[in-house]
C-alpha cells in the first residue's frame, strides 16, 4: 500500500455523493408524503403467517392506500431480541405505524413504549403484548379453548377418552387455549385426557404425533386440536381407525371433511373455529383510519370475533371470495392446510383469494370504511395487560351451550 490518499479521496467523494442523494430523496419525500408503515413478522413459513402478511400487503396496494402508504415488510425470526432490534430500526427510520405479529407478549414492551413516545402507532394482530400504549387486535380473548372443548364434550355426551393436540410449548396463546379447554374438561369426570402432545400448529407434525398417540390409545373417542387439526384426521384414516369427533381450527381440509357425507358416515363430527389471519387486515385498516384522521381511538385491546363453523354451517365458495355466506374453498383450489378465515365480508370486503395467497390487491376494489364500533377485549393478565385482574367469568361460554350436564 503506497498511500492512503486515493482511498481518502474516494471516501470523501462517496460521502458527498451520498449526502446529495439523501438531500434529493428528502426533498422528494417532503413533496409526496407517504405514510411509512412497517409490517413486522416474527417468522414466516407457515400458511397462517403468510396469509396474514399477504392480506396486509394486498390492502396496502388497494386504492387509495397504493398512493399514500409505503409498506415495508421485515421478518425477524423467532428470537425476541431480533424483533426488538427490528422495531428499533423502524422507529429510527421514522415509522408512522408498525403492524406486527409479536413473538412475545412481554419482551417487546420496552421498545414499544419508546416508539409510542416518538409518536409511532403499534398494532399487534393475533398475538398480543401487555404494553398498554399498543393496540392489540386479537381473537385470543374470544374463548377458543373453552368453546371448542364444550362442543367436543357435547358431541361425546360428556364421557370418553380424548387427545389434546396442542401448539408450541411455552407459547402464551397455546396456554390460554389449553387452560380454557381444561376448565371445561375438568368439570366432566367422564372425560379422560389420555394423551397430550405438542403439534406446533403444523399439519404434518399433528399427523405424526397423533399416529404415535393412537398406537398407545386406539380406543380414543375424540380429539381436541389446535391448528394442524387436519393431520389428526389423516392419522385416524392412516391407522384404519374409525373417525371420531374432532374440534380444530380453520383449515380448509377440516371444513371440507366435516361437510363430507362419507367422513360423517365414518363418525366425523366437530367444529372449525380458531385464529383468523383476517385479524391482520382489520388491524391494518384500523391503524390507517387513525393515521388518516378518520377515527379517534385511544390504545386499547380489541376483540376479533371467534369464527365458528360446525358441520351444518360449512358452505363451499364458488368464486374467489367469501360471498353468500360461504366459508371454505373446493378441494384442489387451495391446499388442505390453507387457513380459510382470510376474509371477512363485513370488515374486509376488499380481499380475494389472490390477496391471501400472493398479496395482490383485488382489481377494482377500493378501501371501504370499517364499522364505527370496535369490540373491547376483556383483561387477560400476561396476555393483553400486566398487573390487571381478569374478569370473574374469564372462561364463560360465549358460542356454544352445554348439552350434557357434568
Amino acid at each position: 500500500m503506497k498511500s492512503w490518499k486515493p482511498v481518502a479521496k474516494a471516501a470523501a467523494l462517496c460521502t458527498a455523493a451520498m449526502l446529495t442523494l439523501a438531500t434529493l430523496v428528502g426533498a422528494a419525500d417532503a413533496q409526496d408524503k407517504k405514510f411509512k408503515i412497517y409490517l413486522s413478522l416474527s417468522y414466516s413459513g407457515n400458511a397462517w403467517q403468510s396469509e396474514a402478511a399477504n392480506i396486509v400487503k394486498a390492502l396496502a396496494a388497494t386504492p387509495p392506500y397504493d398512493q399514500t402508504v409505503e409498506l415495508t415488510e421485515v421478518i425477524s425470526g423467532t428470537d425476541p431480541q431480533a424483533q426488538i432490534s427490528a422495531y428499533e430500526s423502524m422507529i429510527d427510520a421514522g415509522a408512522d405505524g408498525i403492524i406486527t405479529f409479536p413473538i412475545s407478549s412481554t419482551a417487546l414492551n420496552r421498545v414499544i413504549k419508546r416508539g409510542c413516545k416518538e409518536g409511532v402507532l403499534f398494532f399487534t394482530y393475533d398475538a398480543t403484548v401487555t404494553e398498554p400504549c399498543a393496540y392489540n387486535v386479537s381473537y385470543i380473548t374470544s374463548g377458543f379453548g373453552e368453546n371448542t372443548a364444550q362442543a367436543l364434550v357435547n358431541e361425546l355426551g360428556g364421557k370418553g377418552k380424548i387427545f389434546l393436540s396442542r401448539g408450541v410449548p411455552g407459547n402464551s396463546v397455546d396456554k390460554r387455549h389449553t387452560d380454557g379447554a381444561m376448565h371445561i374438561f375438568k368439570q366432566y369426570p367422564g372425560i379422560e385426557v389420555v394423551a397430550e402432545y405438542y403439534s406446533y400448529w403444523d399439519d404434518r407434525t399433528t399427523q405424526q404425533e397423533t399416529a404415535k398417540a393412537l398406537a398407545a390409545h386406539p380406543d380414543v373417542n375424540g380429539i381436541w386440536a389446535q391448528a394442524g387439526e387436519y393431520g389428526a384426521i389423516q392419522a385416524l384414516i392412516d391407522a384404519g381407525h374409525a373417525l371420531v369427533p374432532i374440534t380444530g381450527e380453520n383449515s380448509n381440509g377440516l371444513r371440507l371433511a366435516l361437510a363430507n357425507p362419507d367422513m360423517q358416515a365414518k363418525g366425523l363430527k366437530g367444529v372449525s373455529a380458531g385464529s383468523p389471519p383476517a385479524q391482520s387486515g382489520y388491524a391494518f385498516k384500523l391503524m390507517m383510519e387513525i393515521l388518516t384522521g378518520k377515527r379517534t381511538l385511544e390504545p386499547t385491546n380489541i376483540q376479533y370475533a371467534l369464527p365458528w363453523v360446525p358441520a351444518d354451517k360449512v358452505k363451499v365458495c364458488e368464486g374467489d371470495r367469501f360471498e353468500n355466506g360461504c366459508n371454505v374453498f373446493p378441494e384442489g383450489k387451495v391446499p388442505s392446510s390453507f387457513v380459510t378465515e382470510v376474509f371477512n365480508p363485513e370488515l374486509l370486503p376488499e380481499l380475494s383469494l389472490a390477496s391471501a395467497l400472493e398479496g395482490k390487491p383485488t382489481p377494482g376494489a377500493t378501501i371501504q370504511p370499517l364499522p364505527a364500533d370496535v369490540v373491547k377485549a376483556p383483561n387477560e393478565p400476561g396476555i393483553n395487560c400486566q398487573g390487571c385482574e381478569p374478569p370473574a367469568d374469564l372462561y364463560k361460554l360465549t358460542t356454544v351451550e352445554p348439552t350434557v350436564s357434568p
Binding site: 400458511a47 402432545y197 399416529a211 384442489g332 388442505s336 398479496g359
Partner: protein, 339 residues
C-alpha cells in the same frame, strides 16, 4: 466390511485389531441397537396395554421410513468426515416442488419426479463443490445452502405451498399389501440397496477410505473430491425423496416439513455405530438407530408426563445409548491418557 477400521484408529495409529472372530464391532453394534428396539417395543406394554402390538410395529416402521432414508444420505456424508445440515431444506424443496409441479391431478407428469430428484442432486453437488473445491467447512457450507434454499422456497411459494400428493406417492404411503403398509416393503428394498451400495461396491469402499484417511486414499488413487461430492449428492437425493414421501404421507407440502429431521438424522447415524469423525459405520446400524429413535418417540408419547419431562427422558436415553454404544469409548477406556 471395510478394511479401514474405525475413526479411533486415526488417533492411536494402531492397526485394525479390534475385530474378533470375524464379527465386526459394527455388526455387534447394529445387533444391539435392533435388540434394544425390540425390547423397548415389548416393554412398552407396561406403559400402555395397547402398545407392544403388531400395529405399533407397523406405525413405528412407517414413521421411521422417513428417517431411514435421510439417514442413509447423512450416513454417507458422515462417513467421509462431513456433515449435511441442508437436509431439512432439501426435504422441503423436494416436497414443495412435488406438490406444486406434479400435484394430484397431473398423473402424466410423473417424469417430473426424477427431474426433481436431479435438481436436489444438483444442490448436493453444490455442497460438494463448496466443501471439496472451495474448502469451506462442511457444516458452514451446508448451512449456507440450507438458508439459501429455505429462502428460495419461501419466495417461490409466497409462504403457502400449493398442490397435493401425486397418485403414485399416495399409493406408496397409504396402501397396504397383506396388511403391511407398502412403504415398509419399500424400506426393506431401500435398506438392501443402501447396504449393498455402502458395503459391497467400490464406491462405498472409497467413501470408507476417504473418511478414514483422505491422504492415504489419494495416494491409493481414489479421487477424494469426486467421492466426497457424490456423497453429498446422494444425501441430497435421499432428502429430496423423503420430501416426496412426506407429501404422499401428509397429502401436501409445508415449508417446515423437513425441520424435524436434521438432528435425528445425525443421531441415527451415530447411535447406529458410525464415528462422527468419519471412516466407519454400517447402514444396517443406522437403520437400527432410526428405528430405535422412532420407537422411543412412540413409547414416550404414551407416557402421561409433561412435555418437558418427556423431552428430558428422550434426551437422557439417547445420551445413555451413545455412551454405551460408542466405539471410541471402548477405545479410550482401553488406552487411558490418549485422546
Amino acid at each position: 466390511m471395510s478394511a479401514q477400521g474405525n475413526g479411533a484408529v486415526r488417533f492411536d495409529g494402531a492397526a485394525d485389531n479390534r475385530r474378533s472372530g470375524g464379527v465386526s464391532k459394527e455388526t455387534i453394534n447394529a445387533i444391539v441397537v435392533f435388540a434394544l428396539s425390540i425390547v423397548l417395543i415389548l416393554g412398552s406394554r407396561f406403559v400402555s396395554p395397547a402398545l407392544g402390538s403388531w400395529s405399533q410395529v407397523l406405525t413405528v416402521l412407517t414413521l421411521a421410513s422417513f428417517l431411514i432414508v435421510v439417514s442413509f444420505g447423512q450416513g454417507l456424508v458422515v462417513m467421509i468426515g462431513g456433515l449435511d445440515l441442508s437436509i431439512p431444506a432439501v426435504i422441503t424443496l423436494g416436497g414443495v416442488l412435488t406438490a406444486g409441479w406434479v400435484g394430484a391431478g397431473n398423473a402424466g407428469a410423473w417424469y417430473l419426479l426424477p427431474a426433481i430428484l436431479a435438481l436436489c442432486g444438483l444442490v448436493g453437488a453444490f455442497n460438494g463443490f463448496g466443501v471439496t473445491v472451495l474448502r469451506i467447512p462442511p457444516f458452514i457450507m451446508t448451512m449456507a445452502t440450507s438458508i439459501i434454499l429455505a429462502s428460495a422456497a419461501l419466495g417461490y411459494t409466497s409462504g403457502t405451498p400449493r398442490g397435493a400428493s401425486p397418485e403414485a406417492l399416495t399409493v406408496l404411503m397409504k396402501t397396504s399389501w397383506l396388511g403391511v403398509p407398502a412403504v415398509v416393503f419399500f424400506v426393506v428394498l431401500f435398506v438392501l440397496a443402501g447396504w449393498a451400495l455402502q458395503s459391497r461396491t467400490v464406491f462405498g469402499r472409497r467413501l470408507y477410505a476417504v473418511g478414514a484417511n483422505p491422504d492415504a486414499a489419494r495416494v491409493a488413487g481414489v479421487s477424494v473430491g469426486a467421492a466426497s461430492t457424490l456423497a453429498y449428492v446422494a444425501s441430497a437425493v435421499c432428502a429430496g425423496f423423503v420430501g416426496m414421501m412426506l407429501v404422499g404421507y401428509a397429502n401436501g407440502a409445508t415449508l417446515r416439513m423437513g425441520d424435524s429431521y436434521m438432528l435425528p438424522s445425525i443421531a441415527a447415524v451415530v447411535i447406529g455405530g458410525s464415528s462422527i469423525l468419519g471412516g466407519s459405520g454400517s447402514f444396517v446400524g443406522t437403520v437400527g438407530g432410526a428405528i430405535l429413535l422412532t420407537t422411543l418417540g412412540t413409547v414416550i408419547a404414551a407416557i402421561g408426563l409433561e412435555q418437558g419431562w418427556r423431552t428430558v427422558i428422550e434426551g437422557g436415553i439417547i445420551v445413555a445409548a451413545l455412551f454405551f454404544l460408542r466405539e471410541e469409548l471402548f477405545a479410550r477406556l482401553r488406552r487411558p491418557g490418549r485422546s
